[in-house]
Subunit: 120 residues, 2 copies
């Protein structure tokens, strides 16, 4: 459970940067070398290596070095855990607002009845 | 578009902390004061105020001060944008792995045919 929480810490932090989200989108189209990614995002190789390192540590990207080229690809694990956490929260969130809606409706109904009683 | 991206930066960063995710879970059950949250998570008021501040800046929590008590509740906007981004990525991710599966199947098929030819 702690392991799971720690991995969400790392992966949500990895997703909290527009460039890193962009890299995931780019790798969703095709695998790419660090050089290709650096070119695509107008960055230095050093800067791109850091971003890819963060994504790799979060288990979102895997890299493989063949000769002098390091190729990056999406990891197989995908975004399952992150999606599951958000989906579960959203469901509770909605249930909570539905419950509040019911209370408001109930109060409105009481107000209506009360109004009628006053008038009669 | 830049606005949208910036807000995802802030909200994914807000979600990258287990205590802050815990606060969202707690507020999903009932509204709570800063003091109640601090007690629930065994934290100082100052520490809890910081966490709530991060969630408020990300638009995930709203707070209201009545007298000396600041009450925290989930914001109405929910986690829609974050869920949409993750869901879109997951779909592309799956499509990409499905395409890879097809290539692997195709190669396996060729290998099989090739094997048969060799044997005959």
């Amino acid at each position: 459970m702690v392991q799971f929480k720690a991995s969400l810490d790392v992966s949500f932090a990895a997703l909290s940067d527009a460039t890193r989200r962009g890299i995931l989108e780019r790798l969703g189209q095709a695998d790419a070398s660090i050089t290709e990614l650096a070119d695509a995002f107008g960055m230095t190789l050093t800067g791109m290596k850091k971003h890819v390192g963060v994504l790799e540590a979060a288990g979102l990207v895997v890299t493989q070095k063949v000769g002098r080229v390091r190729t990056c690809k999406l990891s197989l694990r995908g975004l399952e855990e992150e999606a599951a956490w958000i989906e579960q929260r959203r469901r509770l969130w909605e249930a909570r607002f539905d419950a509040l809606d019911e209370i408001v409706d109930e109060l409105a109904q009481k107000e209506k009845t009360h109004g009628r009683k006053k008038r009669s």
